[in-house]
């Protein structure tokens, strides 16, 4: 246990150093921008991983919470002139409340049915973003979201925003790591392994599932907030069914029940389209193929999959 903790501390220390190093040495604004997007996607993947990887509950509608975070801050800062720093907790709280209300009936479902329930919820929210044009700007989107500022520091420059996003990522990693290593984390994994047994040993599975659902919604909303103030313009397409699926894919490809897997998955799914631009019109075909191939050959995600291959190779060498 102690070993585990010191190892974690070292990991996070190295991780922080890497962030600082990257932030100060990378000059190319395009790279900084891509890394910032990776950070936002990591938050999305991390939140969903808590729900899917650890508690074993699938969601095909999480882009809704991403959208609630983004639209929440857009509406509050533009329509109500609220400071973004007040809009942040408000948007997160809104996502959490929605998650709580939707979670109560939805989390009673399991398997495909849970997938469908969350899918339906995500679609409805997305349609609301599109149709409630007086508030959300409708299909053409919401423009004029303000820049973040904190006293004299403006987060308009790439470097500052990079640090802001990755600061949130680091904090979120530590929060999730702490949850996973605690009584709550064990109970979550217990639900994953067997819900019946978990409740038979005293875990209030309904309450706990609801708690992680709300927690993961909070991370998604945080990502939505950061996204909105980075690009200043949001439209419903960003929070569609495809976006929900992309989040699920990040989790599964990176590795379920792995915090670092979220980082890996988010990185790959952010970078992949950038690389695929080279394929121009073959982009979608190649993207779809890669998804299928990874899932067919490494169904437990890249982190686990590569570890498995490594272990197998080691075993062969032994004999």
């Amino acid at each position: 246990m102690n070993n585990h903790q010191t190892r974690n501390r070292i990991c996070y220390a190295v991780f922080s150093l890497l962030i600082i190093l990257a932030g100060y040495t990378i000059e190319n604004p395009y790279y900084i921008q891509v890394l910032t997007f990776i950070g936002i996607n990591t938050l999305l993947a991390l939140g969903l991983n808590m729900l899917m990887g650890y508690a074993g509950q699938i969601s095909l509608g999480h882009a809704a919470f991403f959208g609630i975070g983004a639209y929440g801050t857009a509406i509050l800062t533009v329509h109500y002139n609220l400071s973004p720093w007040l809009a942040l907790p408000a948007a997160i709280a809104a996502a959490m409340i929605v998650a709580y209300i939707v979670g109560i009936p939805t989390l009673k479902l399991s398997g495909y049915y849970l997938g469908m329930g969350t899918l339906g919820f995500g679609m409805i929210v997305n349609i609301l973003f599109r149709e409630w044009s007086s508030v959300t700007g409708g299909a053409s989107g919401f423009i004029g979201i303000p820049t973040l500022e904190l006293g004299p520091v403006s987060f308009s420059s790439g470097r500052n925003y990079f640090f802001l996003v990755w600061g949130f990522v680091l904090t979120s990693f530590i929060i999730c790591q702490r949850i996973i290593d605690s009584r709550i984390g064990r109970a979550l994994r217990a639900i994953h392994d067997g819900e019946k047994a978990a409740s038979a040993v005293g875990v209030d599975t309904r309450k706990l599932k609801l708690q992680v659902f709300v927690l993961s919604a909070a991370f998604s909303a945080l990502a939505g907030f950061l996204y909105a103030h980075l690009v200043f313009f949001i439209s419903p397409g960003t929070f569609s069914f495809i976006a929900s699926i992309r989040m699920v894919t990040m989790v599964v490809i990176g590795g379920m029940a792995s915090i670092w897997g979220s980082l890996l998955g988010a990185s790959l799914l952010t970078l992949l389209p950038e690389w695929l631009h080279a394929f121009s019109e073959f982009e979608m075909v190649v993207y779809g193929l890669i998804l299928m191939i990874v899932m067919i050959f490494l169904p437990r995600g890249l982190t686990r999959g590569l570890l498995d291959i490594y272990e197998r190779a080691n075993k062969k060498n032994d004999h």
Binding site: M1, R183, R186, G194, A197, A198, A200, V201, G202
Partner: protein, 262 residues
């Protein structure tokens, strides 16, 4: 036996699944500190009764009273909290977790650290964790699994998995322990050790309700036997009187006869 208040009372309990009457008009009670054997042929309704007592399903009719309070509408986790703990006929461990972690989850109702506690790491959390670890180690010692704390539970041999499941059930410090066929799949030596373990559990003051097909084990360690057949209670008494009961013999021979036929 004594005038003590019973720990668990089953009062005219009925349960049906669709058309199948799984239990009808079951009444009996458990004295504190006793080992009661619940026996009966396949499909008699033993596991169903366990599911009712542990709150998995609601009872259709009748009442189950634990320590003087009715358990109606109580959820399984609340029942663990008030002192009812169980194992499953087909071992249900948290297979991806270690032996130690399984027992730590077993202490869920006896520990408090919640979402905030784990994120903010309040000072008392570390103390609670440490105590939980200590107790888990004691339990591993108690069931004879010391030294295997860090193994993945799914990788354990089957007999050990049974022991681990019992240890996990004891982790909630229950007053009543429900064991569903704990000897199934064990060899003779393991079964004997299991018998000793159950007696040791009773010595700790835990009341045991035991469903078991291994008659020699059940008859040896039980103080009291309740016999179910096709959802009805057909006999109860001390092991000796039950063994001599004609209805019981008929029930077992009957099903044995049916089995040889097909």
């Amino acid at each position: 036996m004594t005038t003590e208040l019973p720990l668990l009372e089953i009062k005219t309990v009925f349960k049906a699944f669709g058309g199948v009457q799984a239990l009808s008009d079951i009444t009996f009670s458990l004295n504190p500190g006793s080992i009661t054997g619940l026996i009966g042929p396949n499909g008699a309704g033993k596991t169903t009764l366990f599911n009712l007592i542990s709150g998995v399903f609601p009872v259709d009719k009748g009442k189950i009273v634990f320590s003087g309070t009715g358990i109606k509408n109580k959820k399984p986790h609340t029942l663990v909290d008030i002192g009812i703990s169980r194992t499953f006929q087909n071992v249900e461990l948290f297979e991806s977790m270690t032996v130690l972690e399984n027992i730590l989850v077993g202490q869920h109702t006896r520990t408090r650290c919640g979402m905030w506690g784990s994120i903010l790491r309040f000072p008392w959390v570390a103390g609670e964790e440490k105590k939980a670890h200590q107790f888990a180690m004691e339990l591993l010692d108690f069931v004879g699994l010391n030294g295997h704390a860090d193994k993945t539970s799914g990788d354990l041999p089957f007999g050990w998995q049974r022991l681990l499941e019992i240890a996990r059930a004891l982790a909630s410090r229950p007053k009543l322990l429900l064991l569903d066929e704990p000897a199934a799949g064990l060899n003779i030596v393991e079964t004997m050790q299991l018998g000793d373990l159950i007696k040791k559990i009773r010595e700790q003051g835990v009341t045991v309700l035991l469903v078991e097909h291994d008659m020699s084990l059940t008859m040896e360690i039980s103080d009291w036997i309740v016999v179910l057949d096709q959802g009805e209670k057909i006999a109860q008494g001390t092991p000796r009187t039950v063994q001599a009961d004609e209805k019981v013999i008929a029930a077992y021979l009957g099903t044995a006869g049916k089995k040889t036929e097909d």
